[in-house]
Amino acid sequence: MEENTNKPGLFEKGGKLWFLHSTIDAFDTFLRVPATVTSRGAHVRDAIDIKRVMIMVVIALVPAAIFGMWNVGYQHDLFNGDLPGLFDKFWFGLLKVLPLFVVSYVVGLGIEFASAQIKGEEVNEGYLVTGFLIPLIVPVDTPLWMVAVAVAFAVIFGKEVFGGTGMNFLNPALLTRAFLFFSYPSKMSGDQVWINGLPDGVSGATPLTHMLDHSGDVATGLENMPSVSDLVIGTIPGSVGETSIIAIALGAILLLWTGIASWKIMLSSVIGALLVGWLGNVFGVTNVPAYYQLLLGGFAFGTVFMATDPVTSAQTECGKWIYGFFIGALCVVVRLFNPGYAEGMMLAILLMNTFAPLIDYVVTSRAASARAKKGQIA
């Protein structure tokens, strides 16, 4: 290990390329487990590390990504009829979606590496997940420069200014989407953006748009919905990765089994959405049954992959129930009562991200005072 004690190595402190050490270190530890041994505290440590945690989430996202690519081709084929085979559709979608991945990772990781270098810290793996999420939650035709600008905004102002992964309070992938949505609404909503190759004058709206009939006739919402089987399989227009309940469920199984995502958040979010969906149904706001709320739009994807982000969700176990419930409930409230904006999941999660610390504060304070009152026996 002792190479030359007089002269620092190229990437060591004092070396010529010291300014690149975080980058070198990131690639080095990516390939090989670092040789660091425990110096204080427990002498043995669990084999798990953040790299493993993050790669599990990425693996969980793969089914949704693959289905999403195929669905891009499928939706294109519906209107153009030029992609006959299964592989043709997938390949078409891959070529459309891959640039989104490249832009998301190049811009995001570039900023991550630079800020790690500035702070003199190791590069955090958190962006591996964020960078994978972003292409899956935007329409396939989102211009790449918009994605780049939004990623830069979200990573710098949503994460790095707070100290990087683990310190941010808003989910950076959703912040990217929110930035796109409010900055370039014409590319992020409406009935023209969801399908590649949509002919002029044809509506390619997502089923969510039909939730509220704009004529005010609540009875027609359900008639315009695709079948439940289409919604579950995911052969509908939408953001790239959000449409297939089956693909998302595969990811959910992995996340729940490994314990990386909280089942409490997922379950309470479903409960919240069903409750408000049911109330909306009972009081005649819509004629769409409550369970449709789980299948439509970004609800499933958001519940499984975004609401459960361990950094920005509530940290306490009791808080997770409250946090998840309000995400599901608020999502459906936005869907039912805001005719201008069909999708509520993004705003519901971002809003609850900001409230998560408050929820935790209340939960921990109550627990501390309850513990102070606990009986004396000694």
Binding site: T29, L31, R32, V33, P34, A35, T36, V37, T38, S39, R40, G41, A42, H43, V44, R45, D46, A47, I48, D49, I50, K51, R52, V53, I55, M56, E122, N124, E125, G126, G163, G164, T165, G166, M167, W257, T258, G259, I260, S262, P310, V311, S313, Q315, T316, E317, T364, S365, A367, A368, R371, A372, K374, G375, Q376, I377, A378
Partner: protein
């Protein structure tokens, strides 16, 4: 009276090298080290010089603030060396033991007729007062204080820990004597926790005149701090004392015979221990005395006095700590595993997380080493820590409060209840690889400074 507590949360770390219940050899004292660093909250003043003759029980160190608290020599012999570190910090007093061992006779007239003051005096003079650890903060107890209660854990659940049912089975009478004495030092009674899984076969369920608790569960169920938190949580302003069973036996022997006898069975454990078993030894035993039990073929060895989670890395030339009855021998894991985190199976590594597959082999033991298995990160995941901490507090909130140095929050999140050893498992499972124990210790040190 017995109180049954079943702790659900915890983790038994499956590390290989458990000591067989045989006594491999008897180690004859040669050079014995007295280490002031073993005693928290104890500022040492040296009472001997090189060349002084001492008996077992002769004072070697005194506390600067509370001079009645002494540390005494475990053996009779001659002080050969005083080892100092940076800024002349006193590290060790080395004593060359005599062939014939002689001990100071402190006398004794039977516990029944002794008053609390007489018991305190005897323990202070003999150097066994340091066995009383005060909570909060885990420092040597103040002889003037009157604790709410005294807590004793009669078992350890730490990885590869010495089995007290084996090591102390002959000391039942001494332990009984000691608890009678302790009962006079507190109004709250002596709380004595035995292990639920072995409560009927353990010799210690026969100990009388104690408030018995039967505690079952995985590690850290055997930690006295976890037991206190589940029996009667420590509140602000309260003080309790704890004594380990090992020290309780020494106190009992002192009261019965009038002589200091710190000898003990020490478990030599760990993946690099050859034929792991017990040895008859004493505090301050040099690691060289067990050199024949160390497997040095695989490279650098870490010598730990204590267990793999909370022990002290003493090095090849170090010695056994005052409170320890275990040596753990681990491989220094400096090898760089290629694509370690990305390998799907990685069956030679243990993880409590289902992101690896060690849950498929619940009985497998792992030859763990000292590699960190990852780089330092900010806290990311939130629910792994409380799964290994059977106390209703929020460990990461406490740790973040310690990092911030925020006294109010440290109080709110339970700084009075826990010592670093109680959060050792949180540190083990942490994917972000934070040194949780030392962060908590820094928080405790800040509390001691600010609340003094």
């Amino acid at each position: 009276m017995s109180n049954i507590i079943n702790l659900k949360r915890g983790l038994d770390i499956p590390i290989s090298g458990v000591a067989a219940q045989i006594t491999g050899k008897r180690i004859v004292p040669d050079i014995v080290a007295v280490k002031p660093t073993d005693f928290k909250g104890f500022a040492p003043r040296l009472l001997v010089r090189e060349g002084d003759k001492v008996l077992a029980g002769s004072p070697v160190l005194a506390d600067k603030q509370r001079p009645s608290i002494l540390v005494t020599s475990p053996v009779s012999g001659v002080v050969t060396e005083i080892v100092r570190g940076e800024k002349r910090k006193l590290l060790e007093v080395r004593i060359k033991a005599d062939k014939e061992q002689m001990a100071v006779d402190f006398g004794g007239k039977g516990v029944g007729s002794m008053t609390a003051e007489e018991i305190k005096d005897l323990l202070l003079k003999s150097g066994l007062w340091v066995a009383f650890i005060q909570r909060p903060y885990g420092i040597v107890a103040d002889p003037e204080a009157s604790p709410k209660a005294i807590f004793i854990s009669a078992f350890s659940t730490a990885p590869l820990a010495a089995d007290t049912d084996f090591t102390l089975k002959d000391d039942l009478a001494a332990i009984q004597t000691a608890v009678e004495a302790l009962a006079k030092l507190t109004k709250g009674g002596v709380h004595f926790s035995i292990r639920g899984e072995t409560s009927s076969s353990s010799p210690f369920h026969k100990v009388e005149n104690v408030i018995q608790h039967v505690i079952s569960g995985k590690h850290p169920a055997g930690n006295v701090g976890i037991q206190i938190a589940n029996i009667s949580p420590i509140k602000k302003g309260e003080t309790v004392w704890t004594v380990s069973l090992l020290m309780l036996a020494a106190i009992g022997r002192l009261l019965n015979t009038g002589k200091l006898d710190l000898s003990r069975k020490v478990a030599v454990t760990g993946p690099l221990a050859k034929d792991p078993c017990y040895v008859d030894a004493f505090p301050g035993m040099p690691m060289s005395a067990i050199a024949d039990k160390v497997d040095t073929e695989k490279g650098a060895v870490r010598y730990i006095s204590g267990d793999a989670l909370t022990g002290t890395n003493v090095g090849e030339n170090g010695s056994l700590g005052f409170f320890d009855d275990q040596v753990t021998l681990l491989h220094e894991g400096t090898e760089r595993e290629l694509l370690g985190w990305a390998k799907p199976f990685r069956t030679s590594q243990f993880s409590s997380s289902k992101a690896y597959f060690s849950w498929l082999f619940p009985r497998k033991k792992y030859a763990m080493d000292t590699n960190m298995h990852g780089g330092l990160r900010a806290f990311v995941v939130s629910d792994v820590y409380s799964k290994v901490l059977p106390v209703d507090i929020f460990p990461i909130y406490l740790i973040k409060a310690c990092l911030a140095g925020d006294i109010d929050k440290m109080e709110k999140f339970g700084i009075y209840e826990l010592l670093p050893e109680d959060l050792a498992l949180c540190e083990f499972v942490d994917p972000s690889k934070n040194d949780i124990q030392s962060i908590l210790q820094d928080g405790i040190n800040l509390m001691i400074k600010e609340m003094a």
